[in-house]
């Protein structure tokens, strides 16, 4: 009988150094999250206050990023815009995660007809041109931002389901599942207590990538006027509104555009890093 402590060191990993790029990405995301949570407490000015008399001005001491055509402070609007930039993608990622996990688990474990039905639906989702469908649905149904969020959830569920299913298929033939089956453990318990914890890390890594895609898609829809209502501070909407003052105050367009890009890229990098770390 060997003492339990003897094997405890087995499986210790070598120290893992966080790459500098990931640190920067995390820093950018932290800033965006702080802006989204605190909003008016960190913004230097009201994002809605119009100063029609001054109109668009280049960056100055009073307005660090200048003002737009209606004289609104660009920096404050960008800080406020972090809310819509985060909330929508978070809901999309969470929704797609929940649906894809459920469908993927059922499809991968049960197989047969259920699997075929779910997979054909996924194939159909794959065949749809995502952005175009979003434009059509939001355009026809109206409802702006939140309709777009729902459409994106449905669209993202397809590919994610396939990922979850393949991860489940990898676990299914393993002896620990067979052992649970010979003990007569119920299917639900095998699915949620045995398989789910083992595929969760892979799903989470993909969900982070969903967030980045949703951010870019929602910004795109806002740019086209299908997202947030006019006047609301939103990065995609700001790129649309301020494209006319590109030469008098380029910061008004470039700052929100840069924020969309930086946030999406940061999230992508972190997702990739998580995937490397967890899924392999």
């Amino acid at each position: 009988m060997s003492s339990p402590a003897s094997g405890e060191t087995r499986g210790t990993k070598l120290p893992w150094r966080i790459p500098i790029v990931i640190l920067i990405a995390a820093l950018i995301l932290t800033v965006v999250v702080v802006c989204a949570v605190l909003g008016d407490k960190v913004s230097p000015d009201s994002p809605f206050l119009q100063r029609l008399r001054i109109g668009d001005t280049p960056p100055s001491a009073t307005h660090i990023a200048g003002t737009d055509l209606l004289g609104r402070d660009i920096l404050s609007r960008v800080i406020y815009g972090a809310r819509t930039a985060l909330v929508g993608p978070v809901v999309v990622a969470a929704g797609a995660f929940a649906m894809a996990t459920l469908l993927g688990l059922v499809s991968g474990y049960l197989g047969g007809l259920v699997d075929s039905a779910i997979m054909r639906w996924v194939d159909f989702m794959f065949a749809l041109p995502g952005t175009l469908v979003a434009i059509v649905v939001v355009g026809v149904l109206g409802g702006g931002y939140w309709t777009a969020v729902v459409v994106l959830i449905v669209l993202f569920t397809g590919p994610d389901t396939r990922i979850v299913r393949s991860a489940v298929l990898e676990q299914r033939p393993l002896p620990y599942i067979d052992a649970a089956r010979t003990l007569g453990i119920s299917k639900t318990r095998i699915l949620f207590i045995h398989i789910l914890p083992n595929v969760l890390t892979i799903i989470l890594a993909y969900v982070v990538l969903d967030f980045a895609f949703a951010l870019v898609n929602l910004a795109g829809l806002s740019f086209l006027g299908l997202g947030v209502e006019p006047g609301a501070p939103d990065w995609g909407r700001m790129v649309f509104e301020n494209r006319n003052i590109l030469f008098s105050n380029p910061v008004a367009l470039l700052l929100p555009a840069a924020m969309i890009m930086l946030t999406a890229v940061s999230m992508n990098l972190i997702g990739d890093c998580l995937f490397e770390r967890l899924a392999k």
Binding site: S2, G7, R10, L14, L183, G184
Partner: protein, 607 residues
């Protein structure tokens, strides 16, 4: 040390391998003479494969080696990669374990040999190379020219291994390093590959380093044995001498824990505990924690390799004092009286299988007939062996019995309940069958859910049988399989292979079954741990009156555990009878081939 005036072909001095700051192997010394065959014997984690790679200069990234590797006067460690490339293949060549991943899946098998011949002026033309490829294939026993045009996936494992060997030999190396060349193959194929390797080595008067975990194999074909353990050499000597009189307690333990293929013993001698990591035993004898003779001095520092007599070395500092005891144990083991297993009762069979057929749907809808018309009986308290190679259908039969597969045709009766189709059974019957028959799986690393603690796994199993789940019952189960109750809080990742397999057995025992289907339960374990688990099976049978269906390819294992065996060949039972009778006087040609394939020890080869 090498004896003659001639320089040895390979001289390894003070070779240390490390992964960053973590040591993997420390100060290894080895000498290989021309035409000599040496074996590096070690269990998993001993560093044997990395030692081989360090000699060939192909260590994976992040792993570095220091020390000196001298091949015929050239120091390989100081050579640039471009210089090394001129040595690899031409002077030193390697054959690896997995025949399927060693060949490029997109290259025809003949092209692997052709590629190696390309650089040589005498094979400049395509025709001369084609002729040479044919000759090389003939050397490794492939007469069929068509094989050269096939893709690796169209060939069997043994065939792939032959191609890989021919490719490794194509540049006529002076030294061949074979890293577990037969481990991934079937028993009968294993013997063929080893015979081939031995023949080629003799014909070419080539030096051979055989890396293996299989002591019996090492003793049967090698002249010198290097016993590697947790990154350090423990014993070096001539094969026959080491086998007759081991100087290190670890070597003795290994020799004793190998289940003998010739006799059945009451209890196998086993080494307690499991193999430590090299990094954990830097400052002590690597084996001290598992050694019965360990004293304070063994933990005080790493004992150096010291000569004990002509050409024998041991790293045991207490060898002088304990040699007498070691010899006594060795002699006792060699003269162990065989025991005749008791027979099971003859009435009221526990498991009855009649005309079982299982057909799988293969690629493009072709049926694969895994099991064709198999009938077998298992009596209460009886231990039955099911022997066969991979693809013989033995695992499928086991899976049908526990309801993981549904047979295509035939009847299964477990404890009087028809249990061919678990889906069609009444709920109460199904529950009763599941409490009667349980399974233990082969791979200890995936038999437990990595996310569940040991206690959680056992609680779930206890709950499944409807019995009350209490910490005391979990503890009782753990103690039953020889683990302490403290294991309940551990995760599988912190357990060794043997410990995991014990937990898996405890999980199966939780429902108090009457029979366990054991699918190769010890084949993935280290030799020193194998014996522990086999002893556990024997003890549990005696204490609980368990029956076993022991599925394995290993005749030595089956001899120790089964009273009656069925020999399975291509989905059919070709021979059946009491173990002693079947192994002693096999009737079917296949059984005979299977028995002849088991490697015999050096001493038995000479007698």
């Amino acid at each position: 040390m090498s004896g003659g005036q001639t320089r040895p072909l390979l001289n390894v001095e003070g070779l240390s391998i490390s992964h960053g700051v973590v040591p993997i192997a420390t100060s290894l010394n080895m000498v290989v003479e021309r035409g000599q065959t040496i074996a590096i014997v070690g269990e998993s984690g001993s560093g044997k494969s990395l030692t081989a790679r360090a000699i060939a200069g192909i260590l994976p990234r992040g792993i570095s080696a220091t020390g000196d590797v001298v091949l015929d006067g050239i120091s390989l460690m100081r050579l640039a990669e471009s210089e090394l490339r001129k040595i690899r293949g031409f002077r030193v060549s390697m054959v690896m374990q997995d025949p399927f991943t060693m060949l490029n899946p997109l290259m025809r098998s003949g092209d692997h040999i052709d590629e190696m011949l390309r650089g040589r002026p005498e094979f400049a033309s395509r025709a001369s190379r084609a002729a040479e490829v044919k000759r090389r294939l003939a050397e490794v026993g492939i007469a069929d020219e068509d094989i050269a045009r096939r893709m690796p996936f169209q060939l069997s494992g043994g065939m792939c291994q032959r191609i890989a060997l021919a490719a490794a030999l194509a540049r006529d190396p002076e030294l061949l390093i074979a890293d577990e060349p037969s481990t991934a193959l079937d028993v009968t194929t294993q013997a063929e590959i080893i015979t081939l390797l031995r023949r080629v080595q003799r014909e070419r008067h080539m030096s051979l380093i055989l890396i293996t975990h299989n002591l019996r194999l090492a003793f049967s074909i090698c002249q010198r044995i290097y016993v590697l353990y947790a990154g350090s050499l423990l014993e070096v000597g001539d094969a026959a001498a080491v086998e007759r009189q081991p100087f290190h307690p670890y070597t003795l333990g290994l020799l004793l824990s190998e289940p003998p293929a010739e006799v059945r013993v009451t209890r196998l001698v086993s080494i307690r505990g499991s193999v430590p990591r090299a990094a954990d035993v830097v400052d002590s004898c690597g084996f001290a924690d598992r050694c019965d003779w360990a004293k304070q001095i063994c933990h005080a520092g790493k004992p150096p390799m010291a000569p004990r007599n002509a050409s024998r070395f041991t790293a045991c500092i207490r060898q002088d004092e304990i040699q007498g005891e070691l010899d006594a144990l060795r002699t006792a083991a060699l003269s162990a009286a065989p025991i005749t297993p008791r027979r099971g009762e003859t009435e009221g069979e526990l498991v009855r299988v009649d005309a079982l057929v299982k057909t799988f749907v293969g690629r493009r809808g072709y049926p694969i007939r895994a099991v064709k018309d198999v009938s077998l009986r298992i009596m209460p308290g009886e231990s039955v062996g099911l022997v066969g190679e991979s693809g013989s259908g033995k695992t499928t039969i086991g899976r049908c019995l526990v309801g993981l597969e549904t047979p295509t045709a035939g009847d299964i009766c477990i404890d009087g309940i028809p249990a061919a189709d678990f889906g069609a059974m009444a709920k109460a019957d199904r529950a009763r069958v599941r409490r009667t028959i349980q399974m233990v799986f082969q791979d200890p690393y995936s038999t437990l859910n990595p996310r569940h603690r040991v206690g959680q796994a056992l609680e779930e199993a206890l709950g499944a049988s409807g019995s009350p789940v209490t910490p005391e019952r979990v503890a009782a189960l753990l103690i039953d399989v020889g683990l302490s109750a403290a294991y309940a809080t551990r995760r599988p990742s912190s357990l060794s292979g043997g410990e995991r397999q014990r937990v898996a057995i405890a999980r199966a025992l939780a429902v108090k079954p009457r029979i366990l289907v054991c699918d190769e339960p010890v084949s993935a374990l280290d030799v020193s741990v194998q014996a522990q688990v086999l002893n556990l099976f024997k003890r549990l049978q005696a204490e609980h009156g368990l029956s076993y269906l022991f599925i394995t390819h290993d005749l030595a294992v089956i001899r120790q555990i089964a009273e009656r065996i069925y020999v399975l060949y291509r989905g059919e039972i070709v021979e059946e009878g009491p173990t002693e009778r079947v192994i002693g006087t096999p009737q079917h040609p296949y059984t005979r081939r299977l028995i002849e394939s088991t490697p015999r020890s050096a001493s038995q080869c000479t007698t």
